[in-house]
């Protein structure tokens, strides 16, 4: 459902009902123009207190525009996308990082300071901002801080920062719709589990023994109501 459609649904049972009675609503009406009811961007079963907390965090702003721009560049270096899969910055990763930094305040100082560290290091090397550097210059710095076990001692803080932002970008990407598709997670839908596929069992040298096969639930019996008449404990 797009924003306009969902706003319409929201209005029909809600505070806007009387308003709607007095004006004709068709597909071309942009209801966001005739009401100041704010549609919740995230609707996932919150209690009123939780929803208020989320909204407050969303109204605050932590990163500056320049910081977000740098995060976006780093995000696409960390997760550049692959073939049909988009880079991290196109999957909502910067919005996620903005939110989670406020939600988990322990991220605040290391992230702000880490970005500042990066800025300082870039100026030392190239006398410009990270986002103004060429791709090659950016990669040269990243190479120096992306491998924590081999980092030069004078760059260790940079490696710490990079590990943190790598975590946030990676987790942001792989919890996005596109990232989950890339990963190949196939669940979160009603289905019937009937064991590991045969070819997978074979590949791993496993099998279900007779006892397991005999005792386990048969998919065709799942809707039967349990009958205890011949069952003894």
């Amino acid at each position: 459902m797009d924003r306009r459609e969902s706003l319409k649904t929201l209005l029909i049972g809600g505070a806007g009902s009387s308003l709607l009675l007095s004006c004709r609503l068709d597909d071309t009406t942009d209801v966001s123009q005739i009401t100041d009811i704010k549609e919740r961007e995230f609707d996932y079963g919150r209690t009123p207190e939780e929803a208020a907390h989320d909204e407050k965090l969303m109204d605050d702003k932590f990163y500056t525009e320049a910081e977000i721009a740098t995060i976006a560049v780093l995000a696409d270096i960390i997760i550049p996308g692959d073939g049909e899969y988009p880079p991290a910055s196109e999957t909502g990763v910067t919005d996620f990082i903005e939110f989670i930094t406020k939600d988990i305040p322990e991220h605040k100082t290391p992230m702000r300071g880490g970005l500042k560290w990066l800025s300082h290091e870039t100026y030392k090397r190239y006398e410009k901002e990270f986002i103004d550097c060429s791709k090659e210059e950016q990669i040269e710095i990243v190479e120096d801080i992306a491998y924590p076990e081999e980092v030069k001692p004078e760059l260790s803080q940079g490696a710490n920062f990079f590990s943190r932002i790598r975590n946030l970008v990676t987790t942001g990407y792989f919890t996005s719709k596109e990232g989950i598709e890339y990963l190949g997670y196939m669940g979160n839908r009603p289905n019937v589990w009937d064991g590991v596929p045969e070819d997978v069992l074979k590949k791993h040298g496993m099998e279900y023994d007779e006892k397991t096969l005999k005792r386990s639930i048969k998919p065709e019996e799942r809707n039967d109501i349990a009958d205890w008449s011949n069952y003894e404990v």
């Binding site: 996932y44 924590p148 639930i217």
Partner: protein
């Protein structure tokens, strides 16, 4: 404005405080017998089928924090309103001791999110003192509870297999689901080192038990509470049918302060604060049942002081709050190289593990500790949420890349993306859950200096593990490493050693706290009789985990349910006879 207590007009047969496993069961049994019930719950109404409260089948990106645990302790989609800390409802700890208290404020309480591990206590579990001389025996044995375990199995539904193992009683089991791939690996590794693994016993419907609840559709999300009632939650399986009898008045957002008594010390009802209008109310009843959770019920009793009960209600023994005990817990993670680059398929399965290890060393006397533990297992290609893909630098330098060369740990770019994909489903974990020995000095009591935002004096905890529990945790860690190496895996991180008590979690962390109003045949050393009835106050019952004398290594819910049913049957008879 003067202080005023508003009296509710009806006098009920029974007032039940708390709508979790114990309170839900009491409400169902007693309402179906025709008694008029007031059911009080400190949180809001909840029904997993209510779309406004639903979290089942939601995707991580539906949450702006991608499911992180900052608002709900076990993640954004977990179905517990509350957590380790609740705003305005503090608790304190004695210096040098630890206890973490998890509360869920909603109809159904913690049963909405629990692991559904539904184990019966065995004959030995009721008489551990006979076996090792420690703690105390229960005043009842397995045979007293067995008929009620049977009824609970049939009413609620639990899958499992008949194993005929001593002290792991079989029940009326629905057929279990087949093991997942990583569970077959675990089984191979465990059996190699002499550790048994059997199908789990979880209250999830692989088959239906009635027409009102659907069978499980294998989304793995029992912790989110099931919209088709395919698993057990008190809210949907007990409270809902109880309300449908028409004999239950539900009071939600009702924070109970104390039990009210008359001049003879008999309970006459409860005093609560309505969280929505902050006003004080009184509900009158012939019988009061506390089922607010072990510590909350103890708190209510200790706060119910009167000239007849100067130590708090039902506390002439001074045992209320004492013998608080939780399960022990310690965990380890592992990585299995041969589970890399897995073929993708939907292996969500039921919520929780399909196989587990029951305690297997009851006959050993040389372990240095005398109580057992079971092992829970986790892993697989699960749904990503906040934290997924963290710390790749601690994994991806361990094994050769796709081109056969060992990589530098860390990195970025397409190579990093491929690593996340390759390692997906190859990391897993083991958790031990053990029995601790109840001790009087591990306790909760009223903090003399602090009240919550409703003005109710709060609990102060005193809890320390003893050597028994620490040695048990050390044994868990040794066993975990043996199993991991038996299955061709690599244990991750440092093995927790003496300095961390072998990874032993803080008391409270496993959320199996029980024992604060223990039962017994001697009123001088126990609070309740064997029917969960207060020795001092015949029309007062406690039907949560408070009555436990000891809690085995088994999760307490199934025993809370069986005992609450047994106590409700007894109470109904006593009411009919005019004894209470």
């Amino acid at each position: 404005m003067s202080f005023q207590i508003i009296e509710q007009p009806t006098t009920y047969d029974v007032c039940i405080v708390g709508s979790g496993a114990g309170g839900g069961m009491a409400a169902k049994i007693l309402s179906e017998k025709g008694f008029k019930i007031a059911l009080l719950e400190a949180g809001p109404d909840f029904d997993p089928a209510n779309s406004e409260q639903r979290t089942q089948l939601r995707w991580p990106y539906e949450s702006p924090r991608r499911g992180a645990g900052t608002q709900r302790a076990f993640g954004d989609f977990d179905m517990a309103y509350g957590g380790w800390n609740i705003d305005g409802e503090p608790y304190t700890k004695e210096r040098g001791t630890e206890f973490d208290w998890f509360r869920s404020r909603m109809v159904g309480g913690r049963t909405n999110h629990w692991g559904r591990i539904s184990l019966r206590f065995g004959p030995l579990d009721f008489k551990r003192k006979d076996f090792d001389g420690k703690g105390d025996n229960w005043p009842i044995g397995y045979d007293d509870v067995k008929p009620y375990y049977d009824k609970v199995d049939k009413l609620i539904g639990v899958f499992g297999t008949k194993e005929n193992m001593p002290n792991e009683p079989d029940g009326y089991f629905l057929p279990p689901p087949k093991p997942r791939l990583h569970e077959l690996y675990f089984k191979k590794g465990a059996e190699k080192v002499g550790v048994p693994m059997i199908p789990s016993r979880l209250s999830i419907l692989t088959k239906r038990v009635n027409k009102k609840r659907q069978a499980c559709f294998y989304c793995n999300q029992c912790a989110r509470s099931c919209t088709v009632y395919g698993d057990f939650s008190s809210s949907s399986v007990l409270v809902k049918p109880a309300r449908e009898t028409g004999n239950v008045d539900m009071f939600v957002n009702a924070m109970v302060r104390e039990v009210i008594t008359d001049g003879n010390g008999k309970a006459t009802g409860v005093h609560y604060i309505d969280k929505t209008d902050s006003k004080d109310y009184r509900v009158k009843a012939k019988v009061v049942i506390l089922a607010a959770s072990a510590c909350s019920s103890a708190r209510i009793l200790l706060n119910s002081k009167s000239s007849v009960h100067p130590n708090g209600l039902a506390n002439s023994s001074e045992v209320v709050g004492k013998y608080l005990h939780d399960s022990t817990g310690s965990s380890r993670m592992a990585f299995i190289p041969s589970l890399m680059d897995r073929k993708r398929y939907n292996e969500d399965g039921v919520g929780g593990m399909h196989l587990y290890t029951p305690w297997w060393l009851n006959d050993r006397k040389d372990l240095g500790f005398t109580r057992g533990y079971h092992i829970e297992y986790w892993g697989g290609m699960g749904m990503p949420s906040y934290g997924f893909g963290f710390n790749m630098e601690s994994l991806n330098g361990m094994v050769p890349g796709l081109n056969g060369e060992t990589k530098k740990a860390g990195g970025y770019g397409v190579g990093l993306m491929e690593d996340v994909k390759r390692f997906y489903g190859s990391t897993l974990g083991l958790s031990g859950r053990g029995e601790s020995i109840p001790r009087a000095e591990n306790r909760c009591e009223i903090d003399n200096n602090k009240v919550d935002k409703y003005g109710i004096p709060v609990l102060k905890f005193h809890y320390k593990w003893s050597d028994e529990e620490v040695k048990q945790a050390a044994h868990m860690q040794d066993t975990f490493e043996e199993i991991i190496s038996g299955m061709g895996g690599i244990a991750l991180g440092q093995k927790p050693g003496k300095e961390s008590n072998y990874g032993l979690e803080n008391p409270g962390r496993i959320i199996h706290e029980v024992g604060t109003t223990r039962m017994g045949s001697d009123p001088k050393t126990s609070v309740l009789n064997e029917y969960n009835q207060a020795h001092d106050v015949p029309n007062l019952f406690v039907m949560d985990g408070g009555g436990f004398v000891s809690q085995a290594d088994k999760n307490p819910t199934w025993t809370i349910l069986a005992l609450a049913w047994r106590a409700s049957d007894y109470l109904a008879e006593e009411l009919k006879k005019g004894n209470v």
